[in-house]
């Protein structure tokens, strides 16, 4: 697979080393391997620089990268270059093969991870964030969405990934690409489910690996299992509240003060505040309430006095 050799970067205008390169574009920005000559479909030099910088913070997933019509390269990224059980941010960037510059307008659709349960020979999907969109206007050529994978790859089952892409009128995508999903290490459990009646809901905790000792924003999504199960699970339309009780089981269930329950935001996510007094294993006990305040999941006091529904996060 292509490596990102095409992207070596130097911004050296101020050093007076600007050659008579047409990349110059008045701004003095030079990105190795990218022709920054004005192209309405692509980023300006400043935008390209922002995108380029962002790309340095993530890693390519080769299995999900492809090309369209021989004209465009499609690059998929996650933070680590792999997928793991639970919530994963997924980023897409499209470059023109000719110039190497980033295309601003493209659409990612129908992202469908499917798991094959080997024993029963059954297939099911997993929670997927609705649409893949620009998440930061300074980087108009990066689209973000997420998948929350129910299980890791094992003898019991394995994953296939599909999506469609539309770039400046050309269509393409990835079809049933086998991909490995890693397990999370001991002490990390970021995806839980609960049932209300016959409906199954999934609680995906967003990127707790970014947390630090102190006050953190805690974000999660609640998705509802689809029928048929091979359709990606969309966000639940109901409104819940997720109350949290973070505890350190190794420290006599030490807890922290002033945690704020997660409530539904306009973008469909649930956001609250979690305070972590130190590093180590935090078990975040959950109580999920419906819009009327009735407990629908967790909040049962087991013999240790805590909810049986919890996320585990190790800092």
């Amino acid at each position: 697979m292509n490596k990102k050799v095409l992207m070596l970067f130097l911004a050296i205008a101020s050093l007076g080393l600007v050659s008579c390169n047409s990349n110059d574009d008045e701004t003095g920005i030079v990105i190795d391997g990218i022709d920054l000559t004005s192209d309405v479909d692509c980023c300006s030099a400043e935008e390209a620089l922002q995108v380029y910088r962002f790309i340095q913070t993530v890693h390519i997933i080769p299995e999900l990268s492809t090309s369209v019509d021989g004209k465009y390269d499609v690059w998929a990224y996650t933070k680590t270059g792999t997928l793991h059980r639970g919530y994963n941010d997924l980023y897409f960037v499209v470059t023109k093969k000719k110039s190497g510059n980033y295309v601003k307008n493209f659409n990612i659709k129908n992202v469908t991870p499917l798991m094959h349960m080997v024993k029963m020979d059954m297939w099911h999907s997993t929670p997927v964030g609705g649409t893949f969109e620009v998440f930061d206007t300074t980087r108009p050529a990066v689209k973000r969405g997420w998948v929350s994978l129910l299980m890791n790859t094992s003898d019991a089952g394995n994953w296939q990934f599909s999506y469609d892409i539309e770039v400046l009128g050309s269509k393409g995508g990835v079809e049933k690409q086998a991909i490995n999903v890693e397990a999370l290490p001991e002490g990390q459990d970021w995806l839980k489910n609960f049932k209300v009646g016959d409906d199954t809901y999934f609680l995906s905790l967003v990127n707790p690996s970014d947390w630090k000792t102190g006050t953190n924003t805690i974000q999660a999504y609640i998705s509802k299992k689809s029928t048929p199960a091979t359709t990606p699970y969309a966000l639940a339309t109901e409104t819940f509240t997720i109350e949290i009780d973070p505890r350190m089981p190794d420290m006599g269930n030490h807890t922290s003060p002033d945690n704020v329950a997660l409530t539904k935001q306009q973008d469909g996510s649930y956001t609250g505040t979690i305070n972590l007094t130190m590093t180590g294993l935090w078990r975040i006990h959950l109580t999920v309430k419906d819009s009327k305040g009735n407990i629908v999941a967790g909040g049962d006091d087991l013999k240790d006095g805590f909810s049986s529904l919890y996320w585990d996060v190790t800092l």
């Binding site: 001991e186 002490g187 630090k212 000792t213 102190g214 006050t215 350190m248 190794d250 420290m251 006599g252 269930n253 030490h254 807890t255 922290s256 003060p257 002033d258 305070n275 972590l276 007094t277 130190m278 590093t279 180590g280 294993l281 190790t314 800092l315």
Partner: protein
């Protein structure tokens, strides 16, 4: 508590200290000044044993090593400790290493105590008092304190043994003392195994070991000798120190202390001397719980403290005035963290002192005014400013959980002012004094993070929003001598009226971190608190060779609602008979405490029962082949009583019967 007063007044030749009931000194090494306070064990005594001789001073024991001095019933937070004017700050969040533990007897000439707000010029935040550990400097030829009065080469040896805990003491030092150069260097070593409490049961984890190396030196820059450069270097390392009152021990407590000073002596005019000293010290403290059985979670808790500073002291005498003016500046950094290792799971880490940098600068003026031959007024004042910054981000963000609006830097202004009036008429002395002073919260009080206190079993969290604590002090003393000065009686009292008294307060909302802890306390200000210390002393010269002295003391400490504060001494007494027959000195002492009635129940303290013990000591000074030798021997806790005092952390028992002997030789 006013043996001080008597001692000071009975020895008019004493030029180091002024005669005030607010000042006390214990001599560690000195051939001169008989009649001044010293430990019955001489140089072989530990710093803690020397400190115990001082009036107003008690010691909090967490083991048999590194006791925490308490002055006027106030501990480290309210007491300033300096080494020859140098600031030094302990590095253990659990107060296992009061800075007095980083020096050794052989480093010191004496320990000087200023009671209350009447602090020495370098001290800041000294509401309870200030201790200055005076270093032993050999001095230039002809001024030597050692047997060789004409200078040249000299030295000394000390060897000691105590049966209880098999304590061994070995010390050696050498002196070169010439008219323009001197140096004294020495090594000291102590080793102790677990001691036995009264009744013979061993107290596990009460062992320790300590090595100390030091050097003092001085040069005269000119023939006249009015310009002197002096330097100090001390390396002190305690290892394998047990703390029976705590859950863990200390693998290493290490200090490096260095200073260089320049002194100009004025020959004529108002000014006497101008001394400027620059110094640096750092402390590394490493706790260790690996030797304890049944440790639920193994922890690493290292702490670091380093301080760099300078002071410049100008002294002058003119007319009725004896003036000292001092400028000082220091910068201290304190960092401590804790890593806990639950079996198999991920380690848990927290910063317990968030690398706090403190820059403090102050100006002090003391003036002793002789109004008439009989009346003296002493005025002392200090003003200081302090800037603090939390340099560790992780620790800062952790504290912000509890104090969301807190900043990463703070500054404080603190000061003190005190005046004493003294009157001598016939055979009596009267003294009254008053003062006001404030102190900034300590790093533990302002930024400490889940510091477990085994005394009340609470985890303590600092509070960056604390106000400065301040106190008004009133003190008075009276001494009467009757029967041609055969009997002297003294009374001494002081009272402190605090505003914004800082103490840990219950915070039921918070969950403790330490497994087994009762809960969490957050430091807070009490609107007011009161502390009163009183003492009565009687010295009776029954016969020319026989004296009897008695000291009784009583103290009260109350919080804002009149409840007793913790760690306030109950009624205490000491009574001793001393006989001096030519070169032999013997002493029989009875000392004890009454039952602790007013104990800080609200603050987790329990009452300590009464006790009384008997000590016997003897000393014989003689010459052998031209060398001066002193043999000291005695027995402590003769009746092998099992007891603990109010200041024994978690009521750990004191030593049972203990025979000691030591020999010091001047070469």
């Amino acid at each position: 508590m006013i043996g001080t007063l008597l001692l000071a007044i009975l020895s008019p030749s004493d030029t180091i200290i002024t005669s005030s009931h607010l000042i006390d000194e214990v001599v560690v090494v000195s051939a001169a000044g008989e009649g001044r306070k010293r430990s019955v064990k001489g140089l072989a005594a530990s710093i803690d044993e020397h400190l115990a001789e001082l009036s107003h001073v008690d010691l909090v024991r967490r083991g048999s090593y590194a006791w925490e001095p308490v002055v006027n019933n106030m501990a480290t937070e309210r007491v300033s400790t300096t080494i020859d004017g140098m600031k030094i700050f302990y590095a253990c969040t659990d107060k296992m290493d009061p800075v007095t533990s980083y020096v050794e007897s052989s480093n010191l000439q004496s320990i000087l105590l200023n009671s209350g707000l009447n602090g020495n010029p370098q001290s800041t935040g000294n509401i309870g008092g200030s201790l200055d550990l005076k270093l032993r400097k050999a001095g230039f030829g002809g001024e030597s304190l050692f047997s060789s009065k004409t200078g040249g080469l000299g030295g000394g040896l000390v060897v000691g043994h105590e049966t209880n805990g098999h304590l061994q003491v070995y010390g050696a030092d050498g002196v070169v003392s010439l008219p323009r150069f001197y140096t004294n260097v020495g090594v000291f070593y102590r080793h102790a195994d677990n001691y036995k409490e009264g009744g013979g049961r061993k107290v596990p984890f009460s062992q320790f070991q300590k090595v100390n190396v030091y050097d003092n030196f001085g040069f005269r820059l000119t023939e006249e000798g009015n310009d002197v450069v002096e330097g100090t270097f001390i390396y002190d390392r305690a290892s394998n120190v047990g703390y029976p009152a705590l859950n863990m021990d200390v693998a290493k407590a290490e200090a490096f202390i260095a200073s260089l000073s320049y002194r100009h002596q004025f020959v004529e005019g108002f000014l006497n001397a101008w001394e400027t000293k620059g110094y640096y010290n750092h402390i590394t403290h490493v706790m260790d719980d690996t030797k304890r059985p049944d440790v639920e979670i193994h922890m690493d808790m290292p702490g670091k403290s380093w301080t760099s500073g300078l002071y410049s002291l100008l002294t002058g005498t003119g007319g009725r005035h004896e003036v000292q003016a001092n400028y000082d500046l220091y910068y201290n950094r304190l960092f401590a963290d804790m890593t806990m290792y639950p079996g198999g799971a991920a380690p848990m880490y927290m910063v317990t002192w968030p690398d706090v940098g403190t820059l403090n600068t102050g100006l002090a003026v003391n003036d002793r005014i002789s109004l008439t031959g009989r009346q003296t007024v002493t005025l002392t004042a200090k003003w200081a400013m302090q800037w603090q910054r939390l340099n560790n981000e992780e620790g800062y963000y952790a504290l912000r959980v509890f104090f969301p609006g807190m900043k990463d830097s703070y500054n404080q202004t603190i000061g003190r002012i005190a005046a004493t009036y003294q009157l001598s008429i016939l055979n009596s002395q009267l003294s009254i004094g008053a003062g006001w002073g404030s102190r900034a919260p300590t790093v533990t009080e302002a930024y400490g993070y889940y510091l477990n206190n085994t005394f009340d079993q609470y985890d303590y969290i600092g509070n960056p929003r604390l106000k400065n604590e301040s106190a008004v002090e009133l003190n008075c003393a009276a001494k009467f001598s009757i029967f041609s000065s055969q009997l002297s009686i003294s009374l001494d009292a002081n009272a402190f009226f605090f505003s914004n008294y800082i103490i840990g307060q219950f915070e039921n909302r918070l969950s403790p971190m330490t497994v087994g802890a009762e809960g969490v306390k957050v430091y807070g200000n009490l609107s007011h608190a009161t502390m009163v210390n009183t003492a009565f002393t009687a010295d009776w010269k029954l016969l020319p060779w026989l004296t009897w002295n008695t000291r009784l003391s009583y103290a009260i400490g109350n919080d804002d609602v009149g409840k007793a504060l913790p760690l306030i001494s109950p009624f205490a007494y000491t009574s001793g008979i001393n006989c001096q027959l030519s070169s032999i000195n013997c002493k029989l002492t009875v000392k004890g405490n009454a039952r602790q009635v007013n104990y800080g129940k609200k603050y987790g303290e329990t009452s300590t029962p009464a006790y009384a013990i008997v000590n016997l000591s003897g000393q014989y000074a003689f010459h052998l082949h031209g060398h001066a030798l002193t043999l000291r021997a005695g027995v402590e806790n003769l009746l092998d009583k099992r007891y603990s005092t109010y200041s024994d952390w978690c009521d750990i028992p004191q030593k049972g019967r203990n025979f000691y002997t030591n020999l010091s030789v001047s070469l």
